[in-house]
Amino acid sequence: MKELLIILFSAILVDNFVLSKFLGVCPFLGVSKNIKTAMGMSFAVLFVMVLATAITWPIFNLILFPLDLNYLQTVIFILVIASLVQIIEVFLKKVIPPLYSALGIFLPLITTNCAILGLTILNIDEGYTFVQSMFSAVGAGLGFMLALFLFSGIRVKVDHADVPKFMKGLPIALVSAALVSISFFGFKGLIEQLFS
């Protein structure tokens, strides 16, 4: 249990996907203009991360690994994630329309999100068991949500601040992203202390 909690919390804080692994930076900058869209995107990412891990882990460990086809993992995983998002979209549209409209455009955008592919491949590389992979997926999703939530809050504040003209827009967003990222380095070493 302790091990699972370590995986969960290190995925949220120490190995935050956006801020220390620099995966999924495009949605991080693209949809963080206000808190509402940021949360919509984060929920969609969390949702797809968990489902993608639940499907790619068995595919790798039951089909690809026994047949010695490890090199196919990137291609197969992209295929699986893309189709998965398609299926989820169709399913949600019919069964849970409110969730579908809440996730909106973000769901199809996730198809090509590197954070999802990165998560599934990292889970395999780390040699996690199925349960560990699921915890790592939830942690990664929550970490993405935390990063996006913090950053969108900062951007809303920056919008009202008196920024020099040449720094307006993306430049100041990149600078503040760097500062948020640096602040997350403060969590290094936290996890071992927390559970020791």
Partner: protein, 310 residues
């Protein structure tokens, strides 16, 4: 040997291809099944409205895009079929036809420069020798012109115009209405906020001035500016003219284009007419200050000629 080659081919080509293809096939079948099982009945009306709209998704209608506007129209939430400036009157008419709405009166729009302060009317306060750009000059004591509200004339607007509808002459910008599509890029480019999108009537009366100085100071700096004498404000029977401090402003929605304000304006700040055609050289037929000829003047001249001939 033969056997070895056979196994190598099997293991490194056939098996991966089968695995990859198999997974793709299974996923494809699942997608097909889910789309069939969870198929939604498509709203035919919405689809048709969506097809009539141009599909540029520019958002000029005020909705998030063509889908948003189509949804609002087909659900009866919005009954104005003329919100799409890209499609223009044709799209508006087609939409109104299809939805059984009232035929909209679609007035095309055009960009209009609110300044007549050419070099003849204004002076230079200093010699500007920096970057040739209005926004740069605007940053240096609001530009070199004696009127700090007026057009600087370096052509930031002409630069951004994708249609070549803006040209610079006598130190100010002019819009050729026959080329202008009212896209609004120039409105954003002007650091003095002198350009506005107005309805493209043949008679378009505007106070072509944006200065907020008291009359005396205006007279000192520009001979054709609005001095805030309020004569047009008093003469307008339709309430179309309001005073924004010392500046008269004509509301294009309320204006009935009677032309009375034009007759009383002492400085010539009010003017009529948008440039609507080009001459054989491709230049707009009207240029500089003489942007239009008053039809009443022409009639008077004709009458005088007729009297002379008699």
């Amino acid at each position: 040997m033969q056997n070895l080659i056979h196994t190598v081919i099997m293991n490194s080509f056939v098996v991966p291809a089968l695995i990859g293809g198999g997974i793709a096939l299974v996923l494809g079948i699942i997608i097909i099944i889910t789309t069939k099982v969870f198929a939604l009945p498509v709203d035919e009306k919405l689809e048709k409205v969506r097809n009539i709209l141009p599909g540029v998704n520019c958002g000029a209608c005020g909705y998030s895009g063509c889908d948003g506007y189509a949804a609002a129209l087909s659900s009866g939430e919005d009954t104005n079929a003329s919100r799409c400036p890209v499609g223009g009157p044709e799209t508006a008419a087609e939409l109104a036809d299809f939805l059984g709405l009232e035929k909209p009166s679609f007035i095309p729009q055009v960009a209009h420069v609110y300044c007549q302060g050419t070099v003849d009317h204004t002076k230079k306060r200093y010699d500007y020798s920096g970057t040739i750009s209005c926004s740069a000059a605007h940053g240096l004591f609001s530009g070199p012109n004696s009127c700090t509200y007026g057009c600087i004339g370096f052509g930031d607007c002409a630069e951004v115009c994708p249609y070549g509808a803006i040209y610079m002459a006598d130190g100010i910008a002019h819009v050729d209405s026959s080329l202008c599509t009212a896209c609004g890029l120039c409105v954003k480019a002007c650091p003095k906020e002198l350009i506005e999108i107005i309805p493209k009537h043949l008679d378009a009366y505007t106070v072509k001035c944006r200065n907020k100085w008291p009359g005396a100071q205006t007279r000192k700096n520009c001979t054709i500016g609005c001095i805030g004498c309020q004569r047009c404000f008093k003469v307008c029977q339709y309430g179309a003219i309001t005073m924004d401090g010392p500046l008269a402003v004509i509301d294009q929605e309320k204006c009935v284009r009677c032309g009375e304000c034009l007759d009383v304006c002492p400085t010539g700040a009010i003017m009529n007419g948008l440039m609507l055609a080009a001459d054989e050289n491709g230049h707009p037929t009207t240029s500089g200050l003489h942007l239009w000829t008053d039809p009443r003047e022409a009639a008077k001249a004709k009458a005088a000629q007729a009297a002379k001939a008699k």
